[in-house]
């Protein structure tokens, strides 16, 4: 038997478009009537506002039912609900004002119209953010959980099955909905622990048993099946991607599985090859255009050796030319392409490092043998892809190590011959971060 309230709730995404159109229509007609006034009572406006109010009330009702399905971020949902109720209230007031001419001053009617416009935009935006994710229309102020930049793996045998294959697939196809902000089906697929935790339908997978794993069943259903994932006409997984997920579950769904030590069988290897090729092929046009030749010439004139990291990709490696003080302000022109930057012994001070703060594509940064201290290093907080940071021979102290440990992608940090007198023991430096202080 059909669950009528649930059905009404699922009509909400359809119904909401009625008040959007009707309110907009009423507002436009109201504007038009300012030039060509009709004698009161204005029947057309009254009809439009009444229809808008009725559809808004229907939308609120269905919306309240729809919210019971869950799977939405609480704060966004509260904003959308409040906006919808306010909109229904104000459209009803506007309808009343037009239906009873003479009781309401024209200035008040105009104020009601303006309030309805504002509420429509606010509620609509909150609803859009609920459906498509907070960053859909405008980049969100609080960035969505971002994966560390993928390691530069080029061959299957150097891959880690989970972090280099499974996670990138989930990030491409799944975490748009199954993330902490959206939590569709109360399922998070952003970390290994979350994946194992499962969601509203129970565990997402059973380690070692692909046949009993819900996530594999859902991604293998034909597109269009009501339970198929990804839903809503989004790109389904390729056969190779499904094979990778299946292979990972077969291996017990571990958080790390280096393939050099656990050679995959032929079927999985073929799938991984295809996955890898796809990733490498897309690398050159990963959305980052090649740097403009005139920018490169300007950098060369500004004291940099400029090289491409790979011949075909857009990524650049810049190195300060011998015994020159490079013009750091010019780096911003290649901020999207600049991955490796070598500035050893360039006489840079704390103030100079501010010019590096915006270079957030950086993966490797060498600032060794510069008179830079903790204040300078503080400018590096936003370098979320930074994996290698060389600060040997600088004036940094132990104080900044905790701050640097917070860089999400950092794996290797060099602090020998600085003013770091010991490594902090508590809290211990982050796992996966190798701090080279002394080597003997």
């Amino acid at each position: 038997m059909t669950d009528l309230p649930a059905l009404a709730g699922r009509l909400h995404p359809l119904l909401v478009h009625l008040p959007i159109g009707l309110v907009t229509g009423a507002l436009l007609l109201g504007l038009w009537r300012r030039r060509r006034p009709a004698p009161p009572p204005d029947a057309a406006l009254a009809v439009l506002w009444t229809a808008a109010a009725a559809s808004a009330l229907l939308s609120v009702g269905s919306g309240l039912l729809h919210a019971r399905d869950g799977g939405y971020a609480d704060d966004l949902l509260a904003a959308h609900r409040l906006g919808g109720i306010a909109l229904a209230t104000f459209t009803t007031l506007a309808a009343a004002a037009h239906a009873l001419p003479g009781t309401v001053a024209p200035a008040l009617r105009r104020a009601l119209a303006a309030a309805n416009l504002g509420l429509l935009l606010y509620t609509g935006h909150a609803g859009g953010a609920l459906t498509h994710g907070p960053g859909y229309l405008l980049p969100d102020a609080t960035p969505a959980p971002e994966a560390a930049a993928p390691r530069p793996v080029t061959v299957v045998d150097s891959m880690d099955l989970f972090s280099d294959a499974v996670m990138p697939i989930l990030q491409t196809h799944c975490t748009g909905c199954h993330n902490p902000a959206k939590r569709k089906g109360d399922l998070l697929l952003t970390t290994h622990a979350d994946i194992l935790r499962g969601g509203r339908s129970g565990t997402a997978l059973v380690a070692g048993d692909p046949a009993a794993s819900e996530i594999l069943r859902r991604v293998s259903l034909p597109p269009g099946h009501p339970e198929a994932m990804p839903t809503d006409g989004r790109t389904p997984l390729t056969a190779a991607q499904r094979t990778i997920l299946q292979g990972w579950v077969e291996q017990g769904a571990p958080a790390s599985l280096p393939l050099a030590r656990h050679p995959p069988d032929d079927r999985l290897r073929k799938a991984l090859d295809e996955h890898l090729r796809r990733r490498l092929d897309t690398q050159p046009d990963s959305g980052v255009p090649a740097a403009a030749p005139r920018d490169i010439e300007a950098l060369q004139a500004g004291g940099f050796h400029v090289r491409r990291i790979t011949a075909a990709g857009p990524w650049l490696h810049l190195k300060a030319a011998d015994s020159t003080r490079p013009d750091l302000a010019r780096l911003a022109s290649v901020r999207a392409q600049l991955r490796w930057l070598d500035l050893p012994a360039c006489g840079l001070t704390d103030a100079d490092i501010a010019a590096l703060a915006s270079l957030d594509a950086l993966v490797r940064l060498d600032l060794s043998r510069n008179p830079v201290g903790d204040a300078g290093v503080a400018h590096l907080d936003g370098l979320r892809h930074l994996e290698y940071l060389n600060l040997y021979g600088t004036r940094i102290t132990r104080q900044c190590l905790r701050r640097l440990s917070a860089l999400p992608a950092l794996r290797r940090l060099y602090v020998w011959d600085s003013r770091v007198d010991s490594l902090p023991t508590s809290p211990a430096p982050r796992a996966g971060l190798d701090i080279v202080w002394k080597t003997d």
Partner: protein
């Protein structure tokens, strides 16, 4: 010099006009001979495709520099990185009763000879290293040992050509030449491929370091150890501008000659670049060798305070190698020091004293190099390779030596893109043959190129009617040792 350019006979007019150059041409020919070693700025501009169409690097490199520590003569694997307790248990027995013994170079097959050195476990990984290399042992967690190397040649000269050029025959391009041909150099003031001569040029001579059929600009520049690595590097003309005017005149002459050669002027182009580079090296080389800029602690780390002159010699080479890496030089090979009374690592007799003297010369400097590279953040982008051309027999030659053994030897790598603290491959209980995961010289070359961001199948040069590679038609990347 082999050339891929077809030669056409001179016309009568050309013959006459060239004779007019007379002594100039003779002098130039002489300079090719003596100065060609100073290979210059990459003749192939970065970012242009190779003749085969490849654009390099094709993938993101894990290493930008290679330091190749060549152990001339062949270190004994069972005395260094491949412990064999069974040799101890069966000491003095007849090897032919245990396994099939191949003919060896001297075929003076003695009894099973256990290692005179004990092995200790080092590092978190527990890597077993003999007492020949206590310093290298202290770096165990950074190195990947391959115990399953094999070579095709049981004799030094061919084995050296094979290790250095991928072919046992004389005249092919060296791996360093291939590398800078494919990737160019990072520093225009120094050559991209440098050999640091510790005193022993290996059997096979300078052809181990040549460009072969690649353009002449890609061969190695050979620097001597110490503070005067190149003769005549300090300018004689003290009056400002005289040297520049002389060089400008020479350059003009060369370019005239180049035009008349009509496309066959590779040696002249290389000579022009050599002069340009040599001019810049007048300032870059003295700066490079200014060891005074190093702290005493650093110099001692490399063993520059050692009572052993050979340790000091090799330590200076290792320190120079680090300074070359800092300056962007891509491929650096170190040859062995000439120790007293021993014939490099080639101990056909007197194993104990010979290996001990050789090990004492290189052990502390190599460990110093690894530690210094690591604390400066350079090991991350520098691949250090330690290998001989083949191994030695587990049975004696005579009573106290070991003969050549190409069927198994040990090598190790550390740094850029290599997983530290692991052992790859296995030999039999005697260390005589590889029984698991054999790694050929072609595999080694393919792996080095892979770490530099180059698919070894794409690095080609047309010669003699086909596209040649460093790995010829062989080679598989050894993925198991990659990080």
């Amino acid at each position: 010099m082999p050339s891929h350019q077809p030669h056409r006979p001179l016309t009568r007019r050309e013959m006459l006009s060239r004779s007019a150059c007379g002594f100039g041409a003779i002098a130039l020919a002489g300079m090719f001979g003596s100065l060609a070693a100073c290979s210059g700025r990459s003749p192939r501009p970065a970012g242009t495709a190779l003749p085969g169409g490849a654009l390099l690097p094709g993938h993101i490199p894990r290493a930008r520099h290679i330091i190749f520590l060549y152990m001339d003569g062949g270190v004994s694997q069972v005395d260094s990185f491949d412990p064999k307790p069974r040799l101890q248990a069966e000491r003095g027995q007849d090897p032919a009763a245990k396994f099939k013994v191949d003919a060896t170079q001297f075929n003076n097959v003695g009894r099973l000879l256990p290692s005179p050195w004990a092995f200790q476990r080092y590092g978190d990984c527990g890597l077993e290293v003999s007492d020949l290399f206590p310093h290298i042992g202290s770096c165990a967690d950074d190195i990947a040992v391959v115990r399953s190397m094999v070579s095709d040649f049981p004799e030094h000269t061919n084995a050296n050509y094979f290790l250095h050029t991928g072919s046992g025959l004389q005249g092919r391009p060296s791996m360093g030449a291939w590398v800078i041909y494919g990737l160019g150099t990072e520093n225009d003031n120094l050559p991209g491929y440098v050999v640091l001569d510790g005193g022993l040029i290996p059997p096979g001579g300078l052809d181990n370091f040549k460009n072969g059929f690649l353009p002449a600009g890609f061969q190695a520049s050979i620097l001597r150890s110490g503070t005067e690595p190149l003769a005549n590097i300090r300018p004689i003309d003290s009056i400002g501008g005289v040297q520049e005017r002389k060089l400008a005149f020479l350059d003009g002459q060369d370019r005239q000659l180049l035009q008349s050669l009509d496309g066959a002027g590779d040696p002249v182009e290389a000579a022009i670049r050599n002069y340009e580079l040599a001019y810049r090296m007048q300032s870059s080389i003295p700066e490079l060798t200014a060891f005074g800029a190093e702290t005493e602690a650093t110099r001692n780390l490399y063993g520059l305070d050692s009572p052993d002159p050979h340790t000091r010699n090799y330590g200076a080479q290792c320190l120079l190698a680090r300074r070359l890496v800092e300056r962007g030089v891509r491929f650096i090979e170190l040859t062995c020091p000439q120790t007293d009374g021993t014939d490099r690592w080639d101990q056909h007799g007197n194993l104990k004293a010979g290996h001990e003297a050789n090990a004492h010369a290189v052990d502390q400097p190599i460990a110093g190099l690894l530690k210094d590279l690591k604390r400066r953040g350079l090991l991350d982008q520098t691949l250090v390779v330690w290998t001989g051309e083949f191994g030695r027999t587990p049975f004696a030659q005579g009573t106290d030596g070991r003969d050549h053994n190409p069927s198994a030897f040990s090598m190790w790598m550390a740094g850029g893109g290599v997983r530290g603290g692991i052992v790859h491959g296995r030999t039999d209980d005697y260390g005589y043959r590889v029984v698991e995961n054999p790694v050929t010289i072609h595999d080694l070359h393919a792996t080095l190129l892979h770490l530099l961001g180059v698919n070894h199948k794409e690095l080609t040069f047309p010669f003699g009617g086909r596209d040649f590679r460093l790995t010829d038609v062989h080679g598989n990347v050894v993925h198991d040792i990659l990080a």
